[in-house]
Amino acid sequence: MSALLEIRDLTVGYGWRFPPAVTAVRNVSLTVNAGEIVGVAGESGCGKSTLAFAATGLLDAPGRVVSGSICYDGTEMSTLSREELRRLHLESVSMVFQASMNVLNPVMRIGAQFRDAMAAHGVSSKQEARRRAEEAFDLVKVPRRFLDAYPHQLSGGMRQRAVIALALVMRPKLLVLDEPTTALDVVVERAILQSLDELRHELGFGVIFITHDLSLLVEIADRIAIMYAGRIIEEAPARELYDHPKHPYTIALMGAFPPLQGERQRLSGIPGQPPDMKDLPPGCSYAPRCPHFMPGTCDVIDPPEVVIDERRRVLCHLFQPHESTRV
């Protein structure tokens, strides 16, 4: 069975010239299978949103895919016609943004926004559309009467649920969520994530969950990919990443948030700043901030992608293949 989504060696940039002035995503490879939650974590500006937009074909000019492939169920996205790409949205892959006040059309009732989405995908009967919308609302536990409301009448948490319901109404195989709970308080956040998890088991879709909140991912994701300066610098099953982080950046991130239980620890930040994406230095982008910086290597040669085992890889000079210990 081919993977739901297979991204191979994707490079995405912004700019009018070729090559573009800013490369936001560099040589990223990621695979998502049915029923699994893949988390993508990283600081602001690391390229995770760009990755999401590119992967769902929603990248707006001046952003463009420079090289690499994006395959849905074996079909390369660049070979799709505009109409096929349009149908891909919502039927095969749905994207859910942060439910800001303005993510839904303020002048249309929510039910109408369901209806037009479904009509664009072949469901033309009003009753059928209504039925499906109500079903979707039931799935996310929002009272049905809100279908007749305007977006500003819903609370933030309910709005986010409504957006998720919309994303699921055509039963897509893949859900891409970009910071879906960042603006919500933790209680609401937990409830939504719980619903999401249940739905995932019930309907069997795959999820890409993008956030800067690594602690969140450790709880709900199956696999986590850490992004830094446009690259995936480490990928591992969630638990293993938490217990045995390998990349110095991951280790630093882990040290930056405290566990809820256990002894009190000294928190550490990461000194320095992420690099300027317009002006990337050669070699490893993390080198200037890395405690294990090796002059002559890290600042000159691009770090190799080291496959530690079939589920783990890390982008760092410190590791050799087939070894799980440091050089």
Binding site: W16, T56, L58, D60, A61, P62, R64, R86, R87, L88, H89, L90, E91, S94, M95, F97, S100, N102, V103, L104, N105, P106, V107, M108, Q113, D116, A117, A120, H121, A149, Y150, H152, Q153, L154, S155, V163, L166
Partner: protein, 335 residues
């Protein structure tokens, strides 16, 4: 509903202020033109007639300032705007009543046309730029903005003169002035045709100069809206471009227009006055010019009042319509 009530209250207050300012204005001017004017009529008209005029104009010096003001308000309430000096003994309200329909017809038609054309073009330009893809910006947008700016910078009287010369005088396609051919009954078919024929050039001119603002306003609104999250999400839902453009972008881009209507109307009113003057179109702007040239203060005051009241009502109507169109105001807060 509450919103409308508040706006109605504001309307009444503003109306009262406008009336008061209108009343006070000529009395504040240096040399008190009002009284100077009456000096002109001494010796030409009988003293009783002068006194009657003074009463009509609220200039009864026996009752003092406040009394005059109250008289003015009373006259206003009964529709009495005084008697014109230059068209004596015609009443100001009669004169306005004769000319206002011409202006309203012209302005109404031209404004609607300018609005439709302007917002259509503005929306189109913004949409083309938003979907520009790999081009730096669309040609439509780059060309339309200076075009809109130019339209807004054209002096209305100049364009009227140019059109009058080339189209009416030289080519003879349209008449050189007036509202309708002389001697033709308005209610006849040929009368109506003559009406349209005479109104065509003024209407075209007025539409041209007011279009510019709509183009720019709508384009800017549209561009702002196109950057909003809900447009992005609409695309993420897989909606067709046309759907997104109309139901998501345009419908939201139109909303701020209601607030910007005041500005647009100001431009239309200004342009229309000059256009009527150049084309000798028998509207209220033309009447204003005559009043000004003849220093006919009651007439000037009456016309100014009409202008102010009409604009106020138009703005109020726009506010009311806004409530209809924006559910955030209409339906209220969270449940």
């Amino acid at each position: 509903m509450q919103y409308l009530l508040k706006r109605s209250g504001a309307l009444v207050v503003t109306l009262w202020i406008a009336i008061t300012v209108n009343y006070a204005l000529p009395r504040l001017m240096p040399g008190n033109p009002v009284e100077t004017m009456f000096a002109r009529y001494q010796g030409k008209v009988s003293p009783t007639a002068i006194h009657a005029m003074e009463l009509d104009f609220g200039l009864n010096t026996k009752t003092g300032e406040l009394g005059q003001y109250v008289d003015y308000l009373r006259h206003l309430a009964s529709g009495n705007l005084g008697v014109s000096f230059s068209y004596f003994p015609a009443h100001v309200s009669t004169l306005i009543g004769e000319t206002l329909p011409w202006t309203l017809g012209l302005v109404g038609f031209a404004t609607i046309l300018a609005f439709l054309l302007g917002t259509g073009l503005g929306m189109f330009a913004a949409w083309r730029r938003g979907s520009a893809g790999w081009k730096r910006g669309s040609i439509t947008d780059s060309a339309l903005v200076p075009f809109g700016l130019m339209l807004g910078a054209l002096p209305s009287f100049w364009i009227s003169l140019i059109l009058l010369y080339f189209v009416a005088f030289k080519f003879g396609w349209f008449p050189v002035g007036g509202g309708v051919a002389t001697g033709v009954g308005l209610l006849t078919l040929s009368g109506f045709g003559s009406l349209i024929h005479h109104a065509a050039l003024p209407a075209i001119t007025l539409t041209l100069i007011s279009m510019g603002l709509w183009i720019l306003l709508m384009r800017n609104n549209m561009l702002t809206v196109l950057g909003e999250d809900y447009v992005k999400f609409a695309r993420a839902k897989g909606l067709r471009d046309r759907s997104v453009a109309v139901h998501y972008a345009a419908r939201n881009a139109v909303l701020p227009i209601f607030a910007q209507l005041a500005l647009a109307l100001g431009i239309v009113v200004g342009g229309q006055v000059f256009i009527e003057i150049v084309f000798s179109y028998p509207g209220i702007g033309f009447l204003l010019l005559n009043a000004v040239e003849n220093q006919d203060y009651p007439l000037i005051q009456g016309i100014f009042l009409i202008f102010t009241v009409t604009l106020l009502l138009a703005n109020f109507a726009a506010d009311a319509l806004y409530v209809l169109f924006d559910p955030r105001v209409r339906v209220g807060a969270r449940q």
